[in-house]
Symmetry: D3
């Protein structure tokens, strides 16, 4: 039994509230238990310099936490004048993950900015961010399709992320809260498509190591979690879920 | 009639939700119409260098907007590596305002950090921030009193802020929304105590000027608005309102 | 009686030396008592990106102090690598104030850079800066008119600034020197046109408040001060003073 | 057959030159084919603030490339004034990896700084850095043991890193050179101990995904590569290899 | 004949105005023709970290130009957020030069900050800065002696600086103004003591070279100039000049 | 006798290894005793803004040290977020020196970036950098001639640099190692052409001075050293040495 009474393969209570903020093209408040992240997707009608003139689009992400999202107040990165290594890693991860399921050739010379702002943190902020960002991105593209700015939804599959880990006593668990995360021997974040393929896999033993057997158990736990997350995403995006399913069954999913 | 059907002396719909985020000692989500600001108050057990060893405390504020709080996405200040002049002005204003009604000699060598994060903007973010921050500060001090870390609530009076302005047609109005603000000839922010005394007054004619008569009309509008805001603050802080009223009637209000 | 024997409504000795430095289009050394500021106006033949292609000009200001302008040496902002919040507030204020009396539509796609560098500080550096900057700006535009680069002087009215305040004993005074300023309960800076209209009003009670009555007294003191400052500006700009007066009587002043 | 005639499970020619530079406590030039990295380990007699007074040490790493280590010259990060997200990710990875096999409780309040400077890059710079850094760290600790500054070598196991990937045609390969890396659909870096346990696993499909089967094949390739790297490390560290082997057989390896 | 009618070995008109600004311990306005520099010396009662606890003092210099000291306005270094290479070179030069004639062992654990701010530039700003800074330093130390904070003037010799150069036509000249400097093939700055010893010598052929013969001619010109500068410094520092002369004749000059 | 048994006019053992790194157009590892510098020359097909459209090229240099090139580890300038004054001085010096012997009018609108990275330091890193950079530049231009991108080698003369100094006992010496340098009373760096003309001369008495006689002795020592350095450069650049000699005898050397 875990400290919040969950089973090892049990997700926290997860909710996805859409249209949370009024200005962005796609806006979501996602909660993984007490972790709450606002995910906003904004469309900009140009691409970064390295892509100009190629008729192709781009997706980039930024991640931040409110100073008091955590138990102890953190110094604002704008006050420090630079973004931490941890922030950079996470926002690069979110961007890469989203680009794996979006058909960038189909969105024209546009950039989708995805802002993930953690307003309350209790572990798993990066996996909540990716899972929520996917919904915001689908909503933003959906709005563009409805306005006639895109022919069809340029999304090939669902995209979710979940954490798994190994506790100090050697037990593998799914969806770590902060208390578990801070004591875990191994921490792994897994980004997967709805089809169950891997997009990103990051496992770390901080001052520790893990065996092949432990790895396999963690991969299985993640797969269970992903199925549930996809179900929640489908509810959140409504009719667009069917559009994605159709594309997948028509064989255009993946690349 | 204004573009949202309000009378010239009418506030927008204003709500104050307390205990919005779980970690901070005081946490508030305040809405002035579509302007929504999270105000978190955090207690730190030390003061800035210039105050060390004086047995006195300090209050400082930081202000930020989510990139897509506005119609157009703004570049994150952490990405730019510096805080804009506008942000600095606002956070200095919030800090000064709060210090005017708090008895810093009574809080020990502690700093109260007040974070105002705008998640949705529609004009008046600085006045919403001050009005909400006051509530978060009272809640944080209240919690310290309950825990026995402070003898009594070190707050001398209520503190509210409201904007007034002059439209291009010369009409003075209260509590400008973004559409009004962007077209106004004069923009003034007024911070007042519950007693109706001024804490801060900032009036600006951007490429314009205003007369003594217009100034007096704006001051009257502000006074009307402040009374309503104090009533909302009283509801939000519950029993602490009486504590403040008693201190004022006992003559300890002001300095 | 004040500590330097002035009456409450008495300005310090004020001098304006024109053509102080040889390179700038307009250059002034202004002294408010022991406060000395070099105000240089430079013409650049382009505008910031947000104005390009609109046929309109811009005025922007920068403000700095020599490290030892003050009693204690300050660290240079170039060494710190960033401009302080105080500096930003002041330079934004100077720019806004100047733009209120200049007809930006009449200066073409040009930027007027106004540099206010305090070489000796004794309180009131921002009001001295604005009052001197106005003279430097008129001289710069005057030179452009003489060279045929402008058809007429694009200045609609005089522009002056003065400080007023409330001492700890409750007395309202005009034009605070540093010693008065550091002890004042209320500090207010008022920017006014020659016509007596307000351009900017910034009153602050640092850990204090002020009443409506005190505000009215301070406004009256400011009006007295402004009249004297306009007289000194007229002497400094010579014939251009008449040009401005004529425009005002022809009804083109204000907007 | 790969573009440089290697088999899919074949490492490039790998050399480790010890005592490459004279000042550092441990210094190595490691080559993975045309990728050449100088790894220097420096001992500092204090720890970062968060560890002070705990009697424990720390290992931290920095990573950089000479501007012309690559085909195109890169702008120096010191000139840009900030370290890129990529650099931060890599140096955080190197530090975490080394900390997993070093007994930080046994090194006193000291910091080991590990500098990995790429002088020539042809893919796999982060894996070469970790593999070389391990040798530099053992040499630095060995020197401290010889000088009597440490009782015994505080290293619990070997530590190596290798890249694996999936080419566009779906073939899994070991130790990608730059040409392969730039075209790969999947790129994975694996850090392992001599015992074959995982320290870190980072797999990424940039605009692509990978299956469970592909993952398993990549993990097998990595395990083959690691064995060869450990053999090279043993040659490089000489007698210290036996010390590590003895600790492992005595059961103190791992944590 | 030179463009301003001077002979090749003729200095521009040079003036030194003491006590220019009221706050600094030593303050000078020095003019080399149209080049005008404010040199302020400030005493701080502590030394940089690398000197703490050694009972020794330090002298450091900072140099800046007002944005419009030059024909074209320069961007402020505080706005750019960093100090240019040119500025760093000059301020390091000024500091080194002053330290060569001051007995740092005799000033206690104090730092003398010397600020050289160019308000108008017409070539030779660094030589004017050094020549003026020496006077400001003597005045500051003199004031400390008078107040009893120092036993005696810790200055061993006079210190002056002058530029020499080679024009495009091969003619060697003394004290270049901006027009000459911008066309010169060789530019050399020489810092000398009153005794005629070298403190610093910096000769540069920008896209050009110079012969041993040209070097010798430039050295002779410099020596002529220095004698005149020492005379002007003596006038400026009054009685302190005799104190320095006595120390020199008593054989304590130099080190 | 010097601490490493050298005569006062004796260089350390100097070696120049060409084609050290594979990507740059010109690459050299130069050693002055234990001082080792990688000098890489990279060609970029554009010039800085101030030269655009003039049909002329540019040479610029950057200098850095690996953190542990020295006895004590230095903080990386990329981590500090800014380049030190010392680094700026050195890289400006290297660039100026190279520009003095290269015919920038003959290289088209191209920039040659010269990176000097010190991997081991033992005094004289800036003179080793210049001497090695010259070779890298010739090799880079040579490669461009061979590829037909340049008509002829745009190099007018050899370029070398060497340090001279005065020890505390008054003895003048050539090519100071770190131990000598750190104790020297005077330190001078001299950049000369193969023809024996000066390009740059920088002599400094840190808290000390030097006489005309000492200067002349140092200049003589430098001239001896330069002859040897030119011989080594000729060996390193092979046939290109003759091309330079021919240009010189044809009278095109110098400007």
């Amino acid at each position: 039994m875990r400290n919040d009474q969950r089973k090892v393969n049990e997700l926290r209570s997860i909710t996805i509230e859409t249209d949370y903020v009024k200005h962005p093209e796609g806006s979501v408040l996602i909660s993984f238990g007490d972790t709450k992240v606002i995910c906003n997707a904004s469309v900009e009608d140009r691409v970064p310099p390295f892509l100009r003139g190629q008729g192709k689009g781009w997706i980039t992400a930024e991640y931040a936490m409110l100073p008091r999202a955590t138990e102890q107040r953190n110094i604002r990165e704008s006050s420090k004048g630079k973004v931490s290594g941890r922030t950079m890693e996470i926002q690069r991860l979110i961007g890469r993950a989203l680009r794996a399921v979006v058909d960038l050739d189909k969105i024209g010379e546009r950039t989708l900015w995805v802002d993930c702002d953690v307003i309350q943190a209790d572990g798993g902020t990066r996996t909540a961010s990716i899972t929520g960002a996917f919904v915001a991105v689908v909503l933003a593209f959906g709005k563009m399709v409805e306005k006639g700015n895109l022919k069809s939804l340029p999304v090939n599959d669902f995209l979710t992320a979940i954490s798994v880990g190994v506790l100090a006593d050697g037990k593998e668990i799914l969806d770590l809260c902060y208390e578990e995360d801070s004591k875990a021997a191994v921490d792994m974040n897994i980004v997967m498509t709805g089809e169950g393929e891997f997009v990103e896999l990051q496992g770390t033993g901080e001052e520790s190591t893990f065996t092949m057997t432990q790895l396999q158990t963690m991969l299985s736990l993640a797969q269970e979690g992903v199925e549930n997350l996809v179900r929640l995403q489908k509810d959140a995006i409504g009719e667009w879920a069917e559009v994605i399913e159709k594309k997948k069954s028509a064989g255009v999913a993946g690349k």
